[in-house]
Amino acid sequence: MKSCLKSLLGLAWAGLACLAGAQTAPPAAPPASQPQAQAPAQPNVSASARRLYERSKGQLLQIRTLLKNQDSQASVGSGFIVSDNGHVLTNYHVVSQFALEPDSYRLRYATTDGQAGALELLDFDARRDLALLRAVADDKGVNGLQGRGALAFRPQSQPLGKGERIYSMGNPHDVAFAVVEGNYNGLVERSFDPLIYYAGGINPGMSGGPVLDEDGRVVGVNVSTMLFAQQVSFLVPGEFAESLVKRSLDAKPIRSAAWSRLRDQLTRYQDELVTRFLATPWESANNERYRLPVPRQDFMRCWGRSTAADAKGLDFERSQCRMDHALFVSGSLQTGWLDMSHEAYDGSKLGALRFSRQYTGSFRNERLGGADKSRTAPYCKEQFVGMPPPDAGEPASPPGGAPVARQSRSGPGDVLPLRAVVCLRAYRKLDGLHDLSVLVTTVDDARQGALGRFDARGVSFDNALKLAAHYLEGFAWTSSSKAK
């Protein structure tokens, strides 16, 4: 199961990992292949990949991040022209180096016909992994991308159907501009933010490139692929790109490190994420003895695993739930996700001393991370905590369960004792954001127990406390164990 999770994560992150790749510009232009065409492609024009590429290659770009003082490229991605004034859309992760260290990097574009020029960063949307750029006029006042036409977005009123053919463009691995055919497969399920599942091959370097429908209109932006999977790729829905363009067309260029803008965006995002997460009640883990917190799988995916039935040692059942999508901050930092897991142990075959030893070992194994460039070392508080029974009866409790719970709530022996550790790490450059880790073990029995862990990346201090309290509330006796 662990490997499953890893590969899933990998997928989302793989996409991010391709930030360094070049992307090709998609075809969005009108029927004619002339640069100035701007109208959406006409429905009755042939829709082959070749035709689409011919039509939109004028708006397709490679976005290169170069070192400030030399021509070595630090990373490459793709992008496309979205206005007649030379506005360019790409992924935030394609330009993140420039956004965070504008003194060390600069941005340039290259067109399919070999033109090149400088770009400036107007705005970005880290949550959707999008960035808006604009070509800079050269010494003679000529803006090289002006008048080349722009790709149009497919209106939201015309949603794509599952299986419809769409075409991804970009410059994979800086090899050459490419057009890749694939299918629209709807949105990724259980994702916090909408993400299009594209059945087609996206490679590093294509990030930021457009994905076009048969009519040459932009339906999405290449963003990531799933690692160790074939043809499972992800696109940012075109509507987010369109709204960024509308919002920031006239924005002033960003010339200093954009940490505070990034922090504001991430702060707003985590507020929404935490609010939604706190609003959902815990599900039952179906453990006989303990009520263990498991999230509703609205935007998290859960995997489980247990020991073989004939195992002679410690029996356990493990469950892990996490968000598969994270927000890209920089090459060394991703954030904005929740992850939780628990292991329920049964040591009846072991005896108290052996169980205690192995339970301890499992608790000790939890890694909290150390100080690095992005975050401080974890600072922790720990305590024995007694969890009262949940207010209402268990979801799974029998009809008679609720009165029992209410009766016994007043008794002190009715509290489920836990050993709880709460650790926080602060982000160095994203003021006010923290990583939260909560470790919880039940300490009521010498031969069985449960170890839970909750992680939240990039949340405010207050939200971290709320999440920690919420997670602790997920632990209690089950009604049946209380009845004993």
Binding site: R261, L353, V422, K429
Partner: protein, 353 residues
């Protein structure tokens, strides 16, 4: 040589009678000649029964030396009128050395204070009752230990090792799997004690194996006991910082152990050894302090991972709100930590937005 002797005797027919009546006022001092080994220790001691005392390989001599570089009758120790001892060389090839001075056949010289001289390959020392004796040295007597102490310590160590391995293995573990965890530490401890005993042998000419073994076993067993005891107490009372002792125990006990071993090997340098070991210990701890400035705690684990049987718990659990409340002071502390490496970045951010 005979001629020479005769000549001497002849030349001093008059002084000769003088020593004879002299005994009355001052009897000659009692004296011994010590043969020193290469390490300066006395190998052989011979009493001077009469003056002059003849030294040589011949059994007829008063002081007999078994050395091929010594003549049959090599030299003579003579008491002069002032009570000083003179070394007079008889018929010899190799002569003698007093201090830095080399004496050839027929020469004579007084012995220096301390009475050291060399004949052939033998370092000799004359000690007389006129010399000042150093005070009696206190004998470093180690109080007799109970005979059962050593076996008890070995059993205790093996017991802890056994519990450690037993509790960490599943019920179907085979007995042979205990061999390595039990025997390896035993071998290491015995080898450690043997090495220190060898050092003692080198410098003290003793092989106090059991004393060294007692030291190392005592420290190992104490550490093992602490390893079980501390987490239990920390858990029972919910005092996670007690684990600081656990992380300090190993370096401190290790340093103490080395200091104790060294004390047995070089008893006279005790003060220097203690100081040196303490300095090394402080240096090591100081490096750790320097290396963990970013951590919440310099010593000890970030959290108490021990989960002994719940019956040990003494404190009552608190309400979850108390834990959440206790986190609040971390906000400022984390913000301060986060700013540490961040000063430059803060400046860059100015003017943005």
């Amino acid at each position: 040589m005979d001629e020479q002797q005769q000549g001497e005797v002849m030349s001093s027919p008059e002084p000769q009678p003088i020593p004879m009546p002299d005994p009355v006022p001052a009897p000659p001092p009692a004296a011994v000649v010590e043969l020193l080994g290469h390490d300066g220790r006395i190998v052989l001691l011979q009493r001077v029964t009469r003056w002059p005392a003849r030294i040589g390989r011949s059994p007829a001599c008063d002081i007999v030396l078994d050395d091929a570089h010594v003549a049959a009758e090599h030299a003579e120790l003579r008491l002069d009128a002032d009570g000083r001892v003179q070394l007079a060389l008889l018929e010899t090839v190799n002569g003698a050395v007093i201090g830095r001075r080399r004496l050839a056949q027929g020469e004579m010289a007084p012995l220096p204070a301390g009475g050291a001289f060399q004949i052939g390959g033998c370092a000799l020392r004359l000690r007389t009752s006129a010399d000042v004796l150093p005070a009696e040295q206190a004998l470093a007597v180690h109080p007799a230990r109970h005979a059962a102490l050593l076996p008890a310590l070995i059993l205790a160590m093996l017991f802890f090792q056994w519990v450690d391995h037993w509790s960490a293995s599943d019920p179907d573990a085979r007995w042979i799997s205990y061999a390595t965890p039990l025997l390896t530490p035993l071998a290491i401890v015995l080898g450690w004690a043997a090495l220190w005993s060898l050092a003692s042998k080198l410098f003290q000419h003793r092989f106090p194996f059991s004393a060294h073994l007692r030291l190392v076993l005592g420290v190992v067993v104490a550490l093992q006991a602490l390893e079980w005891l501390l987490p239990g107490v920390a858990y029972a009372l919910s005092l996670p910082r007690l684990m600081v002792l656990d992380s300090l125990a190993a370096p401190v006990a290790g340093a103490a152990l080395i200091a104790w071993h060294a004390r047995l090997v070089w008893p006279s340098a005790r003060r220097w050894l203690d100081g040196g070991v303490a300095a090394l210990l402080l240096l090591g701890l100081g490096l750790q302090v320097g290396g963990r400035q970013e951590q919440q705690y310099i010593f000890g684990p970030p959290y108490l991972a021990a989960l002994p049987p719940p019956a040990l718990r003494v404190v009552t659990p608190k309400a979850p709100e108390a834990l959440i409340e206790s986190l609040k002071p971390l906000k400022a502390e984390l913000a301060r930590q986060a700013r540490k490496d961040n000063d430059g970045a803060d400046l860059e951010d100015v003017g943005e937005e």
